[in-house]
């Protein structure tokens, strides 16, 4: 179980994670907000559909890609929460028809 040790005085903002209204401390990462509200699944693997969740929390594994305000492939561990933000678990990780992203 994840929990926060933050003092209660931190200013709060409200966002929506997979339809659930969530209160989070300003400045917090989207990933932390997700895991603290009991929604650790960030994306589903493209082939197997298996649940995936943040692995590195520092921007190098890309397991935490979620849809933020309609934009896919956003790294939840690098983004901070914002008032009114909507976050959704990502079900397509990449477009297999598209040319490789920079490789």
């Amino acid at each position: 179980m994840f929990r926060s040790l933050r003092s209660d005085s931190a200013p709060k903002i409200t966002l929506t994670i997979n339809g659930q209204a969530v209160t989070a401390a300003a400045g917090q990462s989207v990933w932390s907000a997700m895991v603290l509200c009991g929604q650790p699944v960030t994306r589903r693997a493209a082939l197997s559909g298996q649940d995936r969740s943040a692995y590195c929390a520092m921007g190098v594994c890309f397991e935490c890609m979620v849809v933020i305000d309609g934009f896919p492939n956003q790294q939840a561990c690098l983004r901070q929460v914002a008032e009114g933000m909507t976050v959704a678990t990502q079900t397509i990780t990449e477009d297999r028809g598209a040319p490789d992203a920079g490789l």
């Binding site: 994840f2 926060s4 040790l5 401390a25 298996q50 649940d51 920079g102």
Partner: protein, 469 residues
């Protein structure tokens, strides 16, 4: 567009120290970091901790606040939340910042991208609930978020550090499962006399281990055959220790067995690299001042070979002094005079680092997957068996294997699988890693959208640059 004298990528100890020295020396500096705050891995949020009392994280952490304050006072153009995704040897830097694309130009480039954790491909490592120890660090420092009743497994100082930090905060820990092989202790003995020249460091490490022991949490040593339990998410860890099988239930397992340089930036620039046989990873070729195979591109800190936070800070300073010389702000003699103490300090630290590398050298069975079903490439879901099939079809180097299997083609661009692929191909062909090589990488170093590209801004150096020229 007015160019900066120097652009620094990464604002950890290396990048911050370098920026401070360059600004002091009269150079016009831009610093980019993808983090929301400066500080890098070790000093993450050290200047604005969300914890009620950050001193539990230890003096090495709180010391970062002073460096950050000095960095913030210096005359530096800085961008946080800025992800650099193209660095050209023409001095062009492209980066994403707040959803926009920015471009700047520089005469000298200093790469300080730091390290990432060595992936630990045990069965089940892709299940939700399995994270790295570094992730636990990041969540604790940036977000004051902790996991109750987690299992910590692996080897090395950063593993013991986080366990001690959790215990000081009163966060229950289910177990510490240490995978340091028995043989490593014996192998490290010849390096002990050298390490003892930095007795303070050794004492600090021993104190940490004693602190954990005194807390009385379950501890297992010489663990082997690690396996994550659970189908859809982590439910625990299975392993053997001293011939005994164990299973510990937990929904969170933190893994760690050392760090390796972040390679994508130096590789995408096509700089020369070499295999470091002590640290079992690739690193960019650089001289005593961090100058790479492209003279106006330097690298410093853990991103150029693992030397730790204090080493990174010194290396950043040395690189900056050399860049000041290259820019014409310092004579060669003055550079040599000013870099001498730092170089001597780095040399004095080397024996202790060598001791750590030997003692905590990860066993092959944890670096390379053993189970055919285990995924090597998390993004494209390529298992050990798939890669072996690609090898059997004739793929002999990482690029050939990538085009045959898609391993390394996903959004992480080989950051997780790259070292494993080099290691596996080396093992299968009984060749050294140098003969096998690494993925050929190109820009952009991250996923981009057209939308983001279209919102474009140029960042000229402030006018003060002309005075310096």
């Amino acid at each position: 567009m007015q160019a900066f004298d120097c652009a620094i990528i990464g604002a950890g100890p290396a990048g911050m120290a370098a920026a401070i020295a360059l600004a002091k020396g009269g150079a016009n500096v831009a610093v980019l970091d993808r983090g929301a705050r400066v500080g890098g891995q070790i000093y993450r949020a050290a200047a604005a901790s969300p914890l009620p009392d950050a001193s539990v994280l230890g003096p090495d952490y709180t010391a970062g606040a002073a460096l950050i304050a000095e960095f913030n006072r210096a005359e530096i153009t800085r961008f946080t939340g800025a992800d650099a995704w193209h660095l050209g040897d023409d001095g062009r830097v492209l980066f994403s910042h707040l959803g926009d694309t920015h471009e700047l130009h520089c005469r000298e480039m200093l790469l300080c991208p730091g390290a990432m954790e060595r992936p630990m491909p045990i069965p089940g490592w892709t299940l939700p609930g399995v994270m790295t120890v570094g992730a636990a660090q990041v969540m604790l420092k940036s977000d004051a978020t902790v996991a109750d009743g987690a299992v910590f497994a692996g080897s090395g100082p950063l593993l013991y550090l986080i366990v001690a930090q959790y215990l000081r905060l009163g966060v229950p820990v289910a177990a510490l499962v240490d995978t340091t092989p028995r043989q490593n202790y014996l192998n490290a003995v010849p390096l002990l006399p050298g390490a003892l020249r930095q007795a303070g460091q050794l004492k600090k490490g021993l104190a940490l281990l004693r602190e954990i022991r005194a807390a009385g949490i379950p501890q297992y040593r010489f663990a082997e055959g690690l396996e994550i339990l659970g189908e859809d998410k982590a439910e625990g860890l299975r392993f053997t220790a001293n011939g005994q099988p164990y299973e510990i239930a937990s929904e969170t397992v933190f893994l760690h067995h050392g760090v390796q340089p972040n390679l994508n930036m130096t590789r995408a620039m096509d700089l020369a690299h070499r295999w470091n046989p002590q640290q079992l990873c690739w690193q960019v070729e650089a001289d005593a001042w961090g100058q790479t195979s492209v003279p106006h591109v330097s690298a410093a800190g853990d991103g150029a070979g693992i030397i730790g936070a204090e080493g990174a800070r010194i290396a950043g300073d040395l690189a900056a002094l050399n860049i000041l010389h290259r820019l014409g702000h310092l004579s060669e003699g003055e550079r040599d005079r000013q870099t001498a103490p730092g170089s001597a300090r780095l040399a004095a630290m080397a024996p202790f680092r060598a001791f750590l590398d030997r003692l905590y050298r990860p066993a092959g069975a944890f670096r390379l997957p053993q189970n055919p079903e285990t995924l090597v490439c998390r993004c494209e879901e390529q298992s050990l068996a798939n890669l072996r099939a690609g090898f059997n079809q004739g793929a002999r180097d990482p690029n050939a294997l990538k085009s045959l299997t898609r391993c390394g083609m996903g959004p992480c661009q080989g950051r997780q699988c790259g070292h494993m692929v080099t290691g596996l191909l080396a093992e299968w062909q009984a060749e050294p890693p140098e003969a096998v090589g690494y993925y050929r990488l190109r820009s952009p170093q991250r996923l981009l959208t057209l939308e983001e590209l279209s919102r474009f801004q140029a960042v000229p150096a402030p006018a003060q640059a002309e005075a310096a020229e």
